[in-house]
């Protein structure tokens, strides 16, 4: 549908309560959704609030709900997602409070990273000091590969906003925080494995995941949080069964 001369863009305005405002934006051959939002803000309505920084898919700040689906907008081409007649509907990310217009409040999302013990805890240096020596972690080792698989997360919250369990259970840590925890569980330099496994167990943690894989399907970095969560479940299963916890 890239051939329409202009796009009809419905943009959420307001907070939790609000309405859609309509804008006509010229269609271009090559245009990202973020370009469209920027056009609206620069040319049509400077009061529009939205968030972005890097524009190249690194910072994770530009995610929004585009035609009903969470996406990173700086790397999403309009022609791939536009509806019939050039229709685009933009909302803030779901499963999060709305601050204003297209800006969601990511505080709950990042709070859950810290609840899942998403910070590295060096083994020998309890208070986070720099250890005396370099740790040697062979790149081909299983744990290293499992950690590597999830490490490129940019914290965009696309997965979090696509997860039904987050919608049903406000306490659920969500795919990104659990994915982060799994990378650290596999980090042989980390000393907080036991506490972290406690933090990600139970109804607020990995055991509530239904393995529906929306997170994996939608992650713009092609990570597999669903697999990471399965890893946490497996680890907790054997640790519990064998009395290691």
């Amino acid at each position: 549908m890239a051939s329409a001369a202009s796009l009809t863009v419905s943009v959420w305005r307001g907070g939790e309560q609000g309405h859609f405002a309509r804008f006509d934006v010229p269609a271009r051959e090559n245009q990202t959704v973020l370009d469209v939002v920027t056009y609206i803000q620069r040319e049509l309505d400077p009061s529009l609030a939205y968030r972005f920084a890097c524009r190249v898919g690194m910072c994770g700040s530009c995610a929004m709900t585009v035609n009903g689906r969470a996406r990173w907008t700086c790397r999403t081409h309009v022609r791939k997602v536009v509806g019939a007649g050039g229709a685009l509907e933009l909302r803030p990310l779901g499963n999060l409070p709305v601050i204003r217009d297209l800006v969601a409040d990511l505080a709950p999302f990042f709070d859950k990273w810290s609840r899942a013990r998403g910070t590295f805890q060096p083994k020998e240096a309890e208070e986070g000091a720099v250890p005396d020596d370099f740790a040697i972690v062979p790149p081909a080792s299983k744990q290293r590969r499992q950690a590597d698989a999830g490490i490129e997360c940019i914290g965009c919250a696309v997965c979090y906003s696509s997860c039904d369990v987050v919608a049903w259970n406000g306490d659920y840590l969500g795919p990104a925080a659990l994915n982060r925890a799994w990378t650290l569980v596999n980090d042989v330099r980390d000393g907080a494995r036991r506490d972290r496994l406690d933090a990600v167990a139970g109804d607020a943690g990995c055991h509530s995941c239904h393995s529906t894989q929306s997170c994996t399907e939608r992650c713009p970095k092609n990570l597999d949080p669903s697999l990471a969560i399965a890893g946490l479940k497996r680890t907790l299963f054997w640790d519990t069964l064998l009395g290691r916890r």
């Binding site: 167990a201 139970g202 907790l236």
Partner: protein
Amino acid sequence: MSAASAGGAARAARQQTHLWVAQRVTAMVLAIAVVVHLVMIIGAVRGGLSAAEILGRTRGNEAWLAFYVVFALAAGLHGAIGLRNIAAETIGLRGRAADLAWLAIGLATAVFGIRAAIGLYA
């Protein structure tokens, strides 16, 4: 979070993990037990089914008694934990009291099955 409430949260998470592990283990038991049960039924009905034939097989047979006791326990617990999860997600029924109630329901269900198994054994 205070140390005390962090400890409480970790304990709750452990108990929830135990329920989850029980759910998985009973699922594995059920996968085998249901197959054994079905094969037995198919074998039993061939050439007609009679009470005397069933009792002939089960009466005084410790192996069948043990099998059905394990089967009933697994089914009772598995079902109750599953309902617990559904209730938590749909109507928000959560917490330790609810978990204990579900456990009691699961065990009570199992007791019915075990009573029936003892009836066939004795």
